[in-house]
């Protein structure tokens, strides 16, 4: 089966392959929010402030990558009516939620020292889950292996 045929099958099922650059941007939030969450846990258990500093920068990184991915999908939705599949809308929704919560998390992490606790832990944990959801939906457009 040649690649054109594969693409046609996906398109017929409402699945579109994600652009490589879009995929790279979408690859940011989950690991960065995850490490931010782990850093928050490390700060909470050690009082070592540098963990908290790491978390603050990681969240900014997640917001930068996630924000650009969100911009990408919003432009896609705006430009092309046929692109407005349920999957893409759900993906955009997950990204919006993730970004807003991540932004609040960034503001919380801008408080000084222990003032970030306990909100930082909860917000980072929820951000991980939303980033997981966004990445799951966003990347599920195209799969390796034989199409059934």
């Amino acid at each position: 089966m040649n690649s054109n045929a594969v693409t046609e099958i996906f398109l017929a099922r409402g699945l579109r392959p994600i652009h490589p650059l879009h995929a790279i941007l979408l690859a940011f939030p989950l690991p960065l929010f995850l490490i931010a969450f782990l850093s928050d846990l490390a700060y909470a258990s050690t009082y070592e402030i540098q963990w908290s500093n790491f978390a603050a920068w990681l969240i900014v990184g997640a917001l930068a990558g996630g924000g650009l991915a969100l911009l990408w999908v919003l432009i896609e939705l705006a430009r092309d009516r046929t692109a407005r599949t349920q999957r893409l809308v759900a993906y955009a929704g997950a990204l919006v939620l993730m970004w807003l919560l991540g932004f609040i998390n960034a503001l919380v992490h801008a408080k000084d020292a222990w003032a970030i606790m306990p909100e930082a832990i909860w917000l980072s944990a929820i951000a991980v889950l939303l980033a997981l959801a966004a990445a799951w939906i966003g990347f599920s457009g195209l799969r390796a292996g034989a199409a059934t």
């Binding site: 009082y47 070592e48 402030i49 540098q50 908290s52 500093n53 603050a56 920068w57 900014v60 609040i104 960034a106 503001l107 919380v108 992490h109 801008a110 408080k111 000084d112 020292a113 222990w114 003032a115």
Partner: protein, 436 residues
């Protein structure tokens, strides 16, 4: 809109408390009312943007006159009046630690909007009024290439300058307008990071010791306790040998030091912590007890624990001394000078305090020079505005820093926004005559 809503809520609360007969919360004095700590998602930040003075002058009490005796400094901070009436001005700016968190980038930019854009002068400038007419017609660079000089003290023929990283000594003869050579090293001063970089200084009346205020390296330990070694304290330095010891600790940012005339009692103006509300924590004026601990970072105003600090230290909290006199939260007291009868009867006994002004409040406070009256050697009563008008229609025309008494009957005020040295004199000489 949101801010207006907050203000209206505050107004309603004030009205309510007035109805219930509670006295309005005094923020100044020995017993300030301390609200519960609070902070929203964003800290309150209102930075009055700079505006020129034009033809305007700061406001002084009736019977007093203010003049700008010199301007165009490379950020004028503190002054020292020499025995012959010459005035030394420290110029420059220090600190500048790299941003540690994303927040630092943003907060530093916003705070920078309210500061002078003048390049750092890195020098001591001497001003002289040779004929005593109140016009300082001679201006010379007394010493140059100093690293953010701040505190000044004269002991006999030795002029001590506290740079942001080093205490140095110049030889000084009365009448000199330029240093005779490069300064001698006396002692290193803590300068790693230098979040609070100013090194306030005064000399003991007997001339044996210098006292240097060393501010904390953070607002409230957000750089970790490791960064706070030898910070938030007053050092006592032997003027001869340069040897030092910790004289008092737990003072977050001791920005101005002065000895009470006729006593061996050191006093300090101290800037307290931010970001736990508009009325927390009061900046204060206090007599400094040798060996005393004043709370930072674990607690404020005695035993009020700051929950932002982990791990806590209950023993230190229990030992924390309550300061003598609240100047109000966020006023940023940066100048301290004891008055004398030469300033005229209403201001004869007490201290002048230069207030740089707030950033962490939706309604700015400070931006003025106040007078705290003393009775029997202790602060007594409410502060009196002495120099105002720095804040005008929401903009800052100037920001007071150092205040220094000229014994002939004048208050010298350094302004680091309009880069001006102001001189306030009583029109009628006090019990002592003014300048002839």
């Amino acid at each position: 809109m949101k801010r207006r809503a907050f203000l209206m809520t505050g107004g309603a609360m004030l009205a309510l408390s007035a109805c219930s007969g509670d006295p309005p919360a005094p923020e100044y004095g020995p017993e300030p009312t301390l609200p519960e700590p609070q902070r929203g998602l964003l800290p309150s930040m209102v930075i009055p943007r700079p505006a020129g003075w034009g033809d305007a002058l700061p406001t002084v009490p009736e019977g007093y006159t203010i003049t700008a005796i010199a301007t165009d400094f490379g950020i004028s901070r503190q002054t020292l009046v020499l025995p012959n009436g010459d005035i030394l001005v420290t110029e420059g700016t220090g600190g500048g630690a790299p941003a540690l968190r994303p927040k630092d980038l943003i907060a530093n930019f916003i705070k920078g909007l309210g500061k002078s854009k003048a390049p750092s002068g890195k020098r001591l400038t001497l001003l002289r009024d040779a004929d005593g007419d109140g016009v300082y017609e001679i201006r010379t660079a007394f010493a140059e290439d100093l690293n953010a000089p701040y505190g000044l003290a004269l002991i006999g023929n030795a002029l001590y300058v506290a740079n942001q990283d080093e205490l140095v000594r110049f030889d000084y003869r009365v009448g000199q307008t330029e240093a005779s050579g490069p300064p001698a090293h006396v002692s290193d001063l803590p300068s790693a990071i230098n979040h609070h970089w100013t090194k306030a200084m005064t000399a003991s009346p007997d001339g044996r010791f210098l006292y240097v205020g060393i501010g904390s390296n953070s607002n409230i330990t957000e750089r970790g306790m490791g960064a706070e070694a030898d910070r938030a304290m007053i050092w006592e330095i032997d003027a001869q040998t340069g040897a030092h010891r910790q004289y008092a600790t737990g003072l977050r940012n001791p920005t101005a030091l002065a000895f009470q005339p006729g006593t061996a009692q050191l006093w300090a103006a101290v800037n307290e912590r931010d970001e736990i509300g508009p009325n927390l924590v009061p900046d204060y004026l206090t007599s400094v007890r040798e060996g005393g601990f004043y709370g930072w970072p674990y607690s404020y105003w005695g035993q009020n624990i700051d929950p932002r600090v982990r791990p806590q230290d209950p023993e230190k909290v229990a030992a924390a001394i309550r300061p003598d006199y609240s100047l109000g939260s966020h006023v940023a007291a940066l100048g301290l000078a004891f008055s004398s009868p030469a300033m005229g009867a209403p201001f004869a006994e007490g201290v002048f305090v230069g207030e740089h002004g707030s950033w962490n409040r939706s309604t700015p406070v400070g931006y003025k020079v106040i007078f705290v009256p003393f009775r029997d050697g202790r602060p007594a009563g409410e502060p009196i505005d002495f120099v105002t008008g720095f804040l005008h229609e929401g903009r800052a025309r100037g920001r007071p820093v150092g205040v220094t008494l000229d014994p002939s009957g004048a208050l010298i005020v350094a302004d680091d926004l309009s880069n001006t040295i102001w001189r306030v004199t009583p029109n009628q000489a006090g019990t002592e005559a003014g300048r002839p």
